[in-house]
Amino acid sequence: MKDSRIRSILAGALLSVAAVGALQAGPLEGRWLLESQSYGSGKANQAHVAKPLRMEFYRDGETLAGRIWFGGDHADALPWPSLVLAPLRSEEVVISPAEDRVRARYRTVPADGGDVVLEITEEYRVTDGGTTLSGSVTVALLRGGKPAGSYVLERRFRREP
């Protein structure tokens, strides 16, 4: 049940953001497997084991683009960053192959009459000699335009062959 839920969530995503990056071969390029995800400074690994999150940065013409999917089959892959359930408005997407880092900041668009917006910031950097992509995801809730709390997920991806 949980697998089908994730699939349907991704299928329902409405995307309005684009990932861009000046093409330059570098350690960002390639496929990454989410190895660990923890809350704040906690160490408990919340990463999905059965259907792990994968992210890939690949050449798309003259730019480096990103995509994400669950499990091993990337047929359902969506451009990075992607969210679910609601349209997104991109605030900032930076893929910097030269600096081995990526950053995306985006917001959900509230439903009609709603005042709840999520602002999500993903930041990753290649470390450990190019074998690890590590960083954080900050999920902040805004109600009526005012901050209503946030949480941070620390993430570590492992490079896949």
């Binding site: 906690g42 408990a44 999150l53």
Partner: protein, 701 residues
């Protein structure tokens, strides 16, 4: 004409004994002798207790009160509608905890989202609803905010559900303050951040009638050691849990005293990492302890707080086949993996409704149930209040009139305590231990205090705590384990700058919601000790405190945190008195041993003979100085000139008679014989005025 007939018919129904119908609410009130909220065999009924049912049926308002029968039972037949069930607490009794026992999902009637009903009640709820306006506030973390953006339902779903149901009960428009926080910690409750989010200060400002509170999960998440954590990681996590306990005690006690019209509903913590299908050792080990900490926090306040048994009911889903049960309640979206999904929040919604004593019947119920049986309420009786008999200062604390802290009958005369920097403190102890007929189920430690002086608490932060040993904190380098962590019970004062030093969230925040207490304030907490985990057992056992524990229990007022600079010496904590309330039940005390006769044996020994007492397990002989008796004092106990001779050897001394032989003490002496029946000692005797001889001298426990 037709209308008249209907009215007559209704009157007839109302005046005739009602047969069991399909719209019943029924249950039993009972003396909960182990305090677990479950009616166990042998637990006596509580008859003659008023139980009120208030709400709206399809035909109009319902407001009925019945008295429980001799067997403790009660029932209502109100018809389809929304109701609050509210037993009226018998004087001297306190509702025991909400049941937290597990039951397999295969049990008939075990259906999502209800699971096992776990009822409490909403004190002041009916009265507040009848006042015509009712304000409900959601306080706490992302669970309080019903954070579920990634998996469906709208924010504040379960609070809105409660709001709607209370409106259904009363017809009154219930307003809801939707300003809980997301991803915040227990010490955020104590920080007046002015951000417009609900914390204790906001609650004091708005004075709601109902506060729902969910908080502690993030404290734990941020220090979660995972399964690869070291002992140091575990130590840090446990320190954070204990710090959260302290924060919540300060928050809850402040809410109880500063928002007097509110009833509080406190969620226990569910944890998908603690399930049998996600075998995280740390979570499986510690989350049941966190749940117990929350239950104890709720139970021990001066005014009752309802615990919402989220943890107990979520735990049922661990038992689902193939480990799919619990995870089906969690939002498994890749940016979440923590929060409940709609199914999970529906469970919380039902548990919070049950904790309010809510019952929806027929079309109003989520499962269209038409009857509620076993809406049972356990009670525990306050058997005795114990006052301390000793005081001491430590590390240079200055105290004026310390003796006043031992006396609750001195018209509010306090001990004036001035605390400077470092580890200065004032302690009271010496709680009586000789009431051995009392079977202790729970103990509440409390203080009555105020502050005084021209200074302020800004640099004179203080805490009040209780402990069952002299050691209020673990020694340096101590390694916490699940059965060795509970060094003290917080009563007053929270986290803020006294966070564990490795995690100073708010270095400049205050530890006290109300640092300057101008009028006397009473604050209390459940006094607890470490759990035990018998070999091979799946669940912890939570032993009640013993009389031996009370012998070493102390309550202290301590400087906190330990500041770098001395405080304002003009600032004082004035402790009127401290106490321990023993809740439980009493065995019958045996009668006095009769017909004591002394005989002198030629070899100089004495022969004390007496009537044998039925059921006696053992006999004790006390000897005291005769000179003390004239002044109304007795010294046959700890200062005895000889003995005492506990569990003394006896010989037959004729029909129905026994004798104890002893050497004659020096000087004139008096002698007393007591017996233990069912481990309760008989009175040592009475004065000519019929007043029992000082029980503190009976030390053969």
């Amino acid at each position: 004409m037709t209308r008249g007939l209907v009215v007559v018919g209704l009157l007839l129904v109302a005046t005739l004994p009602l047969p069991a119908t399909a719209q019943d609410v029924s249950g039993v009130l009972f003396d909960d002798r182990d305090g677990d909220g479950v009616r166990d065999p042998g637990e006596p009924p509580l008859g003659g207790v008023a139980v009120r049912l208030y709400g709206q049926a399809g035909t109009g308002g319902v407001d009925q009160t019945v008295a429980t029968a001799a067997d403790g039972s009660y029932s209502f037949s109100p018809g389809d509608g929304c109701y609050l069930i509210t037993p009226v607490d018998p004087a001297g009794w306190r509702m025991s905890q909400t049941r937290d026992d597990r039951v397999p999902q295969s049990t008939p009637g075990y259906l999502h989202p209800v699971g096992r009903p776990r009822f409490a009640k909403l004190d002041q709820g009916i009265q507040n609803l009848q006042s015509g306006s009712y304000r409900q506030s959601a306080l706490g973390d992302s669970i309080a905010a019903n954070f579920n953006v990634f998996c469906g339902s709208s924010p504040f779903f379960y609070n809105q559900q409660l709001q709607s149901r209370l409106g259904c009960v009363s017809g009154v428009a219930v307003t809801l303050d939707e300003a809980a926080t997301l991803g915040e910690h227990s010490d955020d409750l104590l920080v007046d951040d002015g951000a417009g989010l609900n914390n204790v200060f906001a609650m004091i400002d708005v004075q709601p009638q109902l506060i729902t509170l969910s908080m502690i999960g993030n404290d734990l998440l941020d220090v979660d050691p995972g399964d690869g954590g070291t002992q140091a990681d575990v130590n840090r996590a446990v320190a954070e849990v204990l710090d959260a306990r302290q924060n919540l005690q300060e928050a809850l006690s402040a809410l109880v005293s500063e928002v007097p019209g509110a009833h509080i509903l406190l969620n226990t913590l569910y944890d998908n990492e603690a399930s049998e299908c996600n075998p995280s050792n740390f979570h499986q080990t510690w989350i049941p302890i966190v749940a117990r900490i929350l239950r104890d926090l709720a139970w021990g306040q001066t005014r009752r707080i309802s615990i919402v048994e989220v943890a107990a009911d979520f735990a049922q889903f661990d038992q689902a086949p193939q480990c799919t049960g619990f995870t089906d309640m969690i939002c498994l979206f890749f940016l979440d993996q923590i929060h409940p999904n709609e199914d999970g929040y529906e469970i919380i919604g039902e548990k919070i409704w049950e904790a309010a004593g809510g019952a929806s019947l027929g079309t109003q119920d989520i499962l269209s149930r038409t009857a509620f049986a076993d809406v049972n309420y356990g009670y525990v009786r306050r058997v005795r209040r114990l006052l301390p008999t000793e005081w001491e200062t430590r590390n240079g604390a200055s105290v004026v009139d310390p003796q006043a802290a031992l006396d609750d009958q001195d018209a509010g005369a306090p001990a004036g305590i001035s605390l400077g920097n470092g580890s200065q403190e004032f302690r009271v102890s010496g709680f009586p231990t000789w009431f051995d007929e009392i079977q202790i189920v729970r103990v509440i430690a409390g203080v009555r205090f105020r502050t005084a002086g021209a200074g302020s608490a800004v640099d004179d932060l203080y805490r009040m705590e209780a402990a069952i040993t002299d050691q209020f904190r673990p020694p340096p380098g101590f390694n916490y384990s699940p059965t060795d962590w509970n060094f003290y019970t917080p009563i007053v004062g929270g986290g803020g700058p006294s966070q564990p030093p490795e995690n100073p969230d708010y270095p400049n925040a205050e530890t006290l919601v109300v640092p300057n207490v101008t009028d006397y304030r009473e604050v209390s907490a459940t006094l607890t000790k470490n759990p035990i985990l018998p070999a091979g057992a799946a669940d912890y056992e939570w032993p009640a405190l013993t009389h031996e524990d009370l012998a070493t229990t102390a309550i202290r007022v301590a400087a906190a945190p330990e500041p770098g600079a001395a405080g304002d010496d003009d600032y004082r904590v004035e402790l009127d008195y401290a106490w321990l309330d023993l809740y439980g039940w009493e065995k019958e005390r045996p009668p006095q041993v009769q017909n004591l006769r002394l005989g002198r044996i030629p070899d100089g020994t004495l022969d004390a003979s007496f009537d044998a007492l039925a059921g006696a397990q053992r006999y004790n002989l006390y000897a005291g100085r005769l000179s003390t008796v004239g002044a109304g004092n007795y010294d046959h106990g700890r200062a005895a000139p000889a003995g005492p001779f506990c569990d003394a050897s006896t010989q037959a001394a004729g029909p129905g008679r026994l004798a104890i032989t002893l050497s004659r003490p020096d000087g004139d002496a008096y002698f007393l014989i007591t017996a233990h029946v069912d481990d309760v000692e008989s009175p040592a005797g009475s004065s000519s005025a019929g007043i029992e001889i000082d029980r503190s001298q009976s030390i053969c426990q």
